[in-house]
Amino acid sequence: MPVPNDTHPKLAAYAHPERLVTTEWLAEQLQQPGVAVVESDEDVLLYDTGHIPGAVKLDWHTELNDPVTRDYVDGARFAELLGERGIGRDTTVVIYGDRNNWWAAYALWVFSLFGHQDVRLLDGGRAKWVAEGREMTRDEPTPPKVDYPVIERDDSAIRAFKDDVLAHLGQPMVDVRSPGEYSGELLHMPDYPQEGAVRGGHIPGAASVPWARAAAEDATFKSRDELEAIYQQEQGLSPSDDVIAYCRIGERSSHTWFVLTHLLGFPHVRNYDGSWTEWGNSVRVPIAIGTERGSVK
C-alpha cells in the first residue's frame, strides 16, 4: 500500500509536494511499515552521535561513490547497499541530513539515478528535528535484509557530463558555488580544503545562485513564492528551460537540482557532477572570470 503524502499546506504549494515531508509527519510515520528513514551527512560520525529512531546511515563518500573510478556505484552495489538496510524497491525512503540537507539531497539525486520511485526529503533535515527536541537515539536498527533488484543507473535524464555541458553552452546554467568561487578568486569553498582545480572562474553564461539561498534560517526550504522570486524573477529562469546546475563535485548542485525539479517543477534539469573539479582542470574549455555571466566567444 502506498504511504500517504504529507498534506501540510506549506508543501502543497510546491510543484511536487510528494517529495517532501515535515518533521511532524515523519514523527507519526516512524513505525509505519514501508517507510525507511535514511540519514546522510557531511560528517561521517554525526549519525553515530544520535539519530532519528529507526534511521539507517548512508555515507556518500564511502558508500555511494565507486571506490576506484570517479563515478557512482553500479546497480549491483546499489542493490546490496539498500537491501542490507532493509529497503526494497517499493519502500518509501525519507532522507535527511546535516547542513540544510546538502548531502541528503545528493543521496536523493543518486537514488533518482537508479529510478527509485518514492524518495522524499525531510524538510529542515536533522537540524530542525533536533531543534524541536524530537526523539534521538544511538540504537542502530537491524532491519531484516531484503532483495533490492539490480537496476542499472540511468544517467541520461538528470545527469550531465562534460560533453553535454559543452553542447549546452549558451543555454541556462546555474553555478551554485560561493561568489568567490564563481568569480575565480577562490579555487575551493571558503573554509574548505583545496581540491585541486588549476583554473578559477565559472562556465560562461552560468548564473550565480549560491545553493543555500534556497534554504531558510531553520534549514527548511524557502516557500514556493520565495524560490520563484530567486530563480524565476531574479535570475530569469523559466520552467520550460533546459537547465544544468553544477558546483565543485555535484553535491551542492544536487540541492539546487531538487529545488528546480521538485519544488519549482522544471522538468529538464540536469546536475553536472564533474563540476568545477573537472571543468577547472580541463584543457581548452571556455572559462569566464569575474562577477558577470560572460559568454562563449
Binding site: 554525526l46 553515530d48 552521535t49 563518500h61 574548505y192 581540491e195
Partner: protein, 147 residues
C-alpha cells in the same frame, strides 16, 4: 600497519589502537575520542579571535597552541569545534591526546603523514582526512613561531 617511528608515546599508542581494529571499530574509536575532547579553558572560551582557524577542516575548527617557558618548551593544545562536527572533534582529540604535554622538539618531529597509519582513509574517506594534516601543520607552525 605499524606505527611510524619516532612518535611521542601516547600518539604511538593511539595509532596502534586504531590500526589494531576493524574499519567500523575505528569509527567508534574516533567517536569516543570526539567525546573526550576537553572543553576550552576560560581564557579561550568565547575568544576565538585569540585562536587560529583551521580552514582545511570541513567544519570550523579553532586551535590555540601554548609553548611553556620550561627547558623542554612543553606544548599545550586547545581546540574548539561544535558538537555537530564529531569527525573534526575526533581529529582534534587525537592531536590533543597524542601531543599535549610533549616537548616542542617531539611535536616538531612527528611525521607530517603520521595520520595515514591510523587507517582512517577507508572509514572516513581521504578527503575528510586532509583536515588532520592541516591541523598538524598549523600546530607545528605555531610551535616554531613561539620562538
Amino acid at each position: 600497519m605499524t606505527a611510524p617511528v619516532g612518535l611521542p608515546p601516547r600518539l604511538a599508542e593511539l595509532v596502534e589502537d586504531f590500526s589494531d581494529v576493524s574499519v567500523k571499530e575505528r569509527l567508534q574509536l574516533l567517536l569516543e575520542l570526539s567525546e573526550e575532547l576537553p572543553a576550552l579553558p576560560d581564557r579561550y572560551s568565547g575568544h576565538r579571535d585569540q585562536m587560529e582557524q583551521v580552514h582545511e577542516c570541513q567544519t570550523p575548527l579553532f586551535l590555540a597552541v601554548e609553548v611553556a617557558a620550561d627547558p623542554d618548551r612543553t606544548v599545550h593544545l586547545f581546540f574548539d569545534a561544535p558538537p555537530e562536527a564529531p569527525t573534526t572533534r575526533g581529529f582534534a582529540s587525537i592531536m590533543q591526546t597524542g601531543l599535549d604535554g610533549e616537548p616542542a622538539a617531539e611535536v616538531l618531529a612527528v611525521p607530517n603523514d603520521f595520520y595515514l597509519a591510523l587507517g582512517l582513509g577507508e572509514a572516513v574517506s581521504p578527503l575528510r582526512l586532509r583536515g588532520m594534516a592541516a591541523m598538524l601543520a598549523r600546530i607545528k607552525n605555531q610551535v616554531r613561531s613561539a620562538g
